[in-house]
Amino acid sequence: MRLRGLLSLPGVPPLLSLGGLLALWQIAAGAIGIEGLPSASSVIASLPGVLFDLESLAEIGASLQRMALGFAIAVATAIPLGLVMGRSRAVAGFFGPLLTLIYPVPKAALMPIIMLWFGVGDFSKVLVIFLGVSLPLIYHSYAGARAVDEKLVWSAMAMGMPARRRVFSIILPSALPEVMLGCRVGIAMALIVMVSSEMIARQSGVGNLLFNSLDMAQYHTVYATILVIGAIGFALDALFERVRRRLTFWGETGEETVAGGG
């Protein structure tokens, strides 16, 4: 019974499955025995080398900074647009078809074109992240604003609540759970677009780090960097999920898919 109690602690099952995955990796590496798949233990042993290397640490930091900036700009612009689309048919009718058209475009693949236009600097790198994050944010904000209970709005209008207050007291709180869900997808998307655009541009950042070590046959560094990126993805998601649950305890949106292609 004590075992079962331990198993139902919140952090334990994911930790166990992580351990299981690492064990599986260790066994597979031993069984396959190729240079391209070093054992899990040796990769973990080389983790400090990546984490305490000032140069790669600076790269990772710069990447995350650009990611945060792109995400922040998308939050500031895409959420209002999505909310307005959800409340106005004309706006939705105009932007809807355009967004449908943009939806299947691989955003990170725009990197070569964006670099052609704006150079190889930070602006291009932030822009491509912004583009990738915007779409899920717009979509979820739109869905959130559409799902506002119209009776609430009508009652407020009947009681003479001014439009500005209706937005802040009714529409925003009602849409918030769905908007937060969009932010969660957006964070995952930001990381995906960041890594893939850096892999394509091969200029700087984590993605570049990965392929540089691949080209130099530093296989341990490749795997250690993947572990670091995976940990960042997991940590960002878990952290945001905490914030989301606290902020939107009234929304009933439960587990949702976090998926994106970049």
Binding site: P13, I32, L98, L101, I226, A259
Partner: protein
């Protein structure tokens, strides 16, 4: 018919407006043609290329990787999603595993996949599968969990075996949700296969973009991008139409 046409026109006017503005600004010399080619030039080049065997060969390579990865993801996602929903112990195994793996950016695994599976098809197919499996898994799991318990009880009472219940009741009942997940996975697959081909490949649409970028041929950079996007749109519409057809008897197609 006239109504459908009117509706389509109403939906397409922003797109037409955008294309017209883009075309006009190139024609007026507001943007340099070398940086942003006119849409007419891009589509003309696309039609020209569609008649060449070499271009179609690249499209075919992309489609092979796309469909193989998506097929693996569908089989895996369906199996794991159904198992997690149907059996408690399986669910307790799969759920934490998914919680660890889902938020990881799968594209970061690509260098490892190259090291293990080589530069050829296999690593790209594996990457597509890794990215596409989660939407299908989530959709299957949620769809299967939403099945009306009374249906299952009646079937069990009428003597259907638990295994038959999965195929006769759970799977059909979860179909609307599964197909929605499949559509998401499809578009993700299109994007991922293209990115993988851009990052390391010697053929496929993504490689065409990189090749054109190295040679500074902007029109040829837009053509593969437009092709993969149109492919994504077309496949997406195809699945949507198939979904409507399949779900015709469901009363309300969600």
């Amino acid at each position: 018919m006239a109504r459908a046409l009117k509706l389509a026109l109403l939906h397409l006017y922003p797109v037409a407006l955008l294309l017209a503005a883009w075309e006009a600004s190139v024609a007026a010399g507001l943007v340099r043609k070398i940086l942003l080619p006119a849409p007419s030039a891009v589509f003309a080049r696309l039609f020209e290329l569609l008649q060449t065997a070499a271009f179609l060969e690249h499209v075919a390579q992309t489609l092979v990787r796309l469909s193989a990865g998506l097929a693996i993801a569908t089989a895996l996602g369906l199996a794991l999603g159904l198992a997690a929903a149907a059996s408690h112990p399986a669910g307790r195994m799969i759920q934490p595993l998914v919680r660890v793996l889902a938020p990881i950016p799968k594209i970061a695994l690509y260098p490892a996949l190259i090291l293990i599976l080589g530069f050829d098809h296999a690593s790209k197919i594996a990457l597509v599968a890794a990215d596409a499996v989660f939407p299908i898994l989530f959709a299957t799991y949620h769809g299967a969990r939403m099945v009306e318990p009374k249906l299952l009880w009646s079937a069990r009472a009428a003597g259907t075996s638990p295994r038959a219940c999965v195929f006769k009741i759970v799977l059909p009942a979860a179909l609307p949700s599964i197909l929605t997940g499949f559509r998401i996975a499809l578009v993700i697959s299109c994007v991922v296969v293209f990115l993988a081909e851009m990052i390391s490949s010697t053929d496929g649409l993504g490689h065409l973009l990189i090749r054109a970028a190295r040679a500074f041929r902007t029109v040829d950079m837009f053509v593969p991008l437009v092709t993969i996007s149109l492919l994504g749109l077309a496949l997406n519409a195809l699945v949507a139409a198939g979904r409507r057809r399949l779900l015709a008897g469901y009363g309300e197609a969600r």
